[in-house]
Symmetry: D2
Subunit: 133 residues, 4 copies
């Protein structure tokens, strides 16, 4: 079993914050997407390149828990770990942590594989599936 | 009982879309926030003005289901209905619909009332609570 | 000569602001793009629909002056007036004003007509050119 | 004279792109701001920390030329070089380049030092001024 999940470092810039002085709640979804993209890239794949082969990956649903706010200039770590691989979708557990290792935001994201451009469920390529789990 | 939930109209601009040709998944959270803000404003309140009184409202957690994509230039309707009012939080059910009335994205958002700036749970003012439910 | 330029009303939401408590400087470019889109739409055209005909419109260059900050909840007016129409580009003068009519941000945006997807300069369709000037 | 300007590497994510398949024109201003922030940080300063001392830095005006589009997954380099230091403002020349070294976007950004929160022009601290030029 893998121990440490895949994670990327990330700096909070002024673009990410709002007038409350903290990271705007929608912007964590950008952070989570960056980590998923780099996880897949780290395995030698590219989620978008499939478009030309008639395949796309879309977020089907998600749950997010906001535990503590991230602030301007914070150095964060954003993780992504595939916890379920089904025929046409997979589930990614993700965390944003600060540099004391405290979890600030936790999410569970279900990503569906679909045909492109008609967006019908499609089986995930075996190579990708076995690389991610 | 109220029948039709509060809703705002909204146009999809190029800023909202991504290279997949559809609205980027994080941007629906901006749409949901706008609808919640206008719901509260429509009742004569202002969620942010409380900062000077030591009160703030923050998203505690959320669930989103993405059913169909919204596209550039689409005219959408974004609704917000408070379905639960507790002492220190409330839950808002929200939908993004297209102009055929089809639901594209559905969300449930739990908003917590906290003291500001120390962000501890705090009772929601009675006036606001009774206006929203 | 037209007197009042085309303008759209626009509310500042929390998504537009930053930790400085004001609208983030990049976000005015979103406001300007919305106003240009609605100007073109008001004339019965659609800048994006051309993609299928091998035409696209891209920002070639711009200048922005930030005079005063816009704040959360402000109601703004964003104008767009075509001041120059050339064979392959046009120039749009744009302002963000508050509801006292004060100019907060002023911009001059040069939009080029290009072939799509190879992005070479292309003559603007006569109908669009004569509608915009 | 300094030879190579300060620069940061940067990956284009799906959040940065639009339905045209390229980076949305406003998002380059986010890239430029990140590079300016890191330039100042590399000198041991922090543009935002001054808020508590009654100092802030705001963009006064800018010019941008868009030469070629950046695409999803591109690895870019974003530079920042202070080319003028005046009593109450400085000018930063900035470029976004691809990994062949081609310039995609060029900008000149005038940043003003102001008192906070009343936003009146203020002399730049000598230490910062001499570090940046």
């Amino acid at each position: 079993m893998s121990d440490k999940p895949f994670a990327i470092p990330l700096r909070v810039y002024i673009e990410d914050t709002d007038a409350g002085g903290i990271v705007f709640y929608a912007n964590y979804l950008k952070y989570f997407e960056r980590a998923r993209t780099e996880l897949v890239r780290s395995k030698g794949f590219d989620l978008r390149s499939g478009l030309s082969d008639g395949v796309s990956y879309v977020v089907h649903s998600l749950e997010v828990k906001y535990l503590r706010p991230a602030l301007l200039d914070d150095m964060l770590s954003v993780s992504a770990r595939v916890t379920k691989m089904a025929r046409t979708y997979f589930v990614v557990e993700q965390h944003v942590s600060n540099n004391s290792g405290e979890c600030l935001v936790a999410a569970s994201v279900k990503v569906a594989c679909v045909s492109y451009p008609d967006l019908k469920p499609k089986a995930i390529a075996e190579k990708l599936a076995s690389a991610l789990i």
